[in-house]
Symmetry: C2
């Protein structure tokens, strides 16, 4: 959660990230991006769906992008899938 408007999904509980998304929208930010890699992708989809259904019903999916990133690990490079979910709120 270092950059404004971008929420990076990691190991914290799902609701922490949902709250982060909702807070952004409540601060009148129009576009919020949720990013996740590997196994956190499922959690990113949960976060987006919960935020949209329970808290910010006027939000919609602007764009969903899948890609592959190269990650430097202990045993050399490996590929990991990633998702980027861009949500925006209609006024």
């Amino acid at each position: 959660m270092t950059e404004a408007n971008i929420i990076y999904v990691g190991k914290k509980p799902t609701m922490n990230y949902v709250l982060a998304v909702v807070t952004q929208f409540n601060n009148n930010i129009e576009k919020v991006t949720i990013k996740a890699r590997g196994k956190a992708i499922s959690k990113a989809v949960d976060i987006a769906e919960i935020a949209k259904r329970k808290f910010v019903q006027t939000a919609n999916y602007d764009n969903i992008t899948l890609s592959t990133e190269v990650v430097e690990g202990e045993r050399g490079e490996s590929n990991v899938s990633s998702i980027e979910i861009v949500m925006s709120r209609t006024k």
Copy 2:
């Protein structure tokens, strides 16, 4: 894998589903849909990315849809996130 052109992601190894996607495209089917729920969503993204990058380079993402499904379980109804990835091949 009951309906034609739709691949449902479950507990089998990732490469089984990648092979199913590649086989569909090799049978001259133009659109292949990958569907997954809950924790299998991450695997669905892996499957799509591996199929696209390693086997069917001419495939693109037509449409990616996120939604929430109600599932009847032992302890009543619960919500589960789902993803639908539609891939098509440019000729």
